[in-house]
């Protein structure tokens, strides 16, 4: 789960991570007042759940409260499109107004779960402000790593080793020990999956501060952190995906025209792959999950059909825990209620398969049955191309 920069900074500062003085503004009046209060030059930053804000015009250095107001009038209430958030962008509802820093050097600091080592990794680089993925590919030697122990955390010597390697002086190294130590405590305490400070800046006054901050919560641990879970901003998410998560469905919207409803994440991905293999394009990933009932199947159908690009729907079920007869009842109920206008290909296999197929047949609905995954994919691709 993502949260906004201003929220991440507020949370991290509770752990001792140093951040610049700032105010949050939701209106031009508030933006002007915030700039007035902070005094001097300020940075106005649009708050959306995506990177690339600077290049998209969502971040600017201004030298007066009037300019801060102008910036707020230009940004608030409108979508900001960056290279990360697709053609529709995300609507800016808040601005972070931050005191401008006198920067002497920009660094990068990140923490993630290292799945191969089953641990936590701290990543540091002297190249702040760049996208770390790009840096990792172009200059892997510019990236330094340290292992964070789940019990002992990160020892000061580990930070000193890396900080001296980056060419920091004695005072700056001490600042790094405090800053990164606080970041590690926050990471573990809050069950985050990612904390990224990019850039992490050194100022001419000798301070080390988080100029930007990204903090993602592990969805599985949300139950332990209701205060952070409450910060979820659904307006920043794809509406169909929000609706899907309300029904415990796992849905990812894609660009194709064949809607997919599958049980199990692996089979759902494999179904997308086989559609592509036969020349089609999947419109979505959708896993209906294990304990599916007829109501959830109906909800899944509504979400798939809410995508106007969908020209055919493929249902691929391998019944294990999920019973094919339950799926079939759900499909029939959904079709009768919604009146699906695109071809529907259904493949049921596994538990109560015979009963499921019988229910579809008796319904007299225009459903194209398929026996194998291959046949189902071929039929769906044909159907989407208007050849069925």
């Amino acid at each position: 789960m993502k949260i906004h920069e201003y929220q991440a900074k507020e949370i991290l500062s509770r752990y001792g991570v140093a951040v610049p003085d700032s105010r949050v503004a939701a209106t031009p009046d508030e933006a002007e007042a915030a700039a007035e209060k902070l005094g001097g030059r300020v940075v106005v930053k649009a708050q959306i759940h995506a990177g690339g804000r600077g290049k998209a015009g969502g971040v600017a250095l201004v030298d007066s409260p009037a300019r801060a107001r102008q910036m707020a009038e230009d940004l608030l209430g409108l979508p900001l499109v960056t290279h990360q958030n697709g053609p529709r962008g995300q609507v800016v509802r808040r601005l972070l107004i931050e005191r401008a820093m006198d920067i002497s050097r920009e660094l990068y600091a990140g923490m993630v779960v290292d799945r191969e080592a089953a641990g936590i990794a701290l990543i540091l680089s002297g190249e702040g402000g760049m996208e770390i993925e790009q840096l990792a590919m172009s200059r892997p030697d510019a990236i330094l790593r340290a292992r964070v122990h789940p019990v002992g955390g990160l020892m000061p010597y580990q930070i000193r080793q890396l900080a001296f390697q980056l060419g920091l002086d004695k005072q700056q190294v001490q600042k790094a020990v405090e800053f990164l130590g606080a970041m590690v405590r926050a990471f573990i305490d809050l069950d985050t999956s990612l904390v990224e400070i990019n850039p992490l800046v050194l100022t001419r006054d000798g301070d080390m501060l988080a100029l930007d901050a990204k903090l993602n919560l592990d969805d599985n641990a949300a139950f332990r952190h209701p205060d952070i879970a409450a910060l979820r901003d659904v307006e920043q998410e794809e509406p169909a995906e929000v609706e899907a998560s309300r029904h415990d469905l796992s849905y990812v919207r894609l660009d194709g025209n064949i809607g997919c409803m599958v049980n199990g994440a692996g089979l759902a991905m494999a179904t997308m792959d086989i559609i592509k293999l036969y020349g089609g394009e999947p419109a979505n990933f959708l896993d209906v999950g294990g304990g599916t009932d007829a109501a959830r199947v109906a909800a899944a159908f509504k979400i798939i059909l809410s995508d106007p690009n969908v020209k055919a729907v493929l249902v691929n079920i391998f019944g294990g825990i999920v019973r094919c007869d339950v799926i079939a009842q759900g499909v029939v109920a959904a079709v009768e209620e919604m009146g699906i206008e695109v071809p529907l290909v259904v493949r049921l296999q596994g538990t109560k398969q015979g009963e499921g197929v019988e229910i579809l047949k008796e319904s007299k609905l225009d459903i194209v049955p398929a026996e194998t995954m291959k046949e189902a994919a071929e039929l769906a691709v044909k159907a989407a191309g208007g050849a069925l």
């Binding site: 089953a118 641990a221 894609l254 199990g264 692996g266 991905m269 999947p282 391998f318």
Partner: protein
Amino acid sequence: MSILVGKDTKVLIQGLGSAGKFHTQTMIDYGTQLVAAAHPGRGGTAWQGVPVFDTVQQAVRATGADASCIFVPAPGAADAVLEAAEAGIRVVVCITEGIPTLDMVTVKHRLDPEQTVLIGPNCPGIITPGECKLGIMPGPIHRPGRVGVLSRSGTLTYEAVDQLSRLGIGQSTCIGLGGDPVKGLDFTDGLALFEADPDTDGVVLIGEIGGQAEEEAARWIRESGSKPVVAFIAGRTAPPGRRMGHAGAIIAGGKGTADQKIEALEEAGIAVARSPAEIGERMKDALAA
């Protein structure tokens, strides 16, 4: 023979909630030797003819259980895994989905891999056809035989197993490794076990996007494998940066794409099925070669 579990495996169930009871019944019906259940606060009672204990330690002492299947809800699941491991259970299968990642990091650091094999979490479990089923997979699609199956998926595994069985290719043992980023048994561990098993002739490996487990498997096979391996990697069409259901199925930082994995596996001489509908056929070819 088979790996890890068989007809002599004495099984304990942890977590007798409704899902735990439902799936355990299918395990009993399959012929699995269930000896005990552990559920805090229900010690001294009985369920389906087996004694229920408050702790795993009591259950192990009283019944000699050596494998456990965990249905404990996510907040308590990591605790349940370590309780089983530290009570001396040899094979711990954790079905539970949605365990916080840092809980699993802690589990991995406390678990002694010499003493305990952890399968999962967020997995369908392990089955030795005709002998022992520890998990939620549909029993009837399996048939006894000589091909091992290792998979990060659930229903896609059933699809592959079904294809094998329809072609008359039985399975020695099938293991669902689970869809989480931090988990117990991995491809290389499973490959080593199947390599050492005289009754396994070949292995089906079903991977998916995210992480480096398939690349590591490719390296292991190149260096130490002698038996034919057939693979399928799900997620060739998955967009980067999006989590595809499983917490572990995400292409991050340009790494973990299906094409990278397929390339690594093919370089190690492994036949990779391009279509999920051809996994069984590829194994048939590999066994005939």
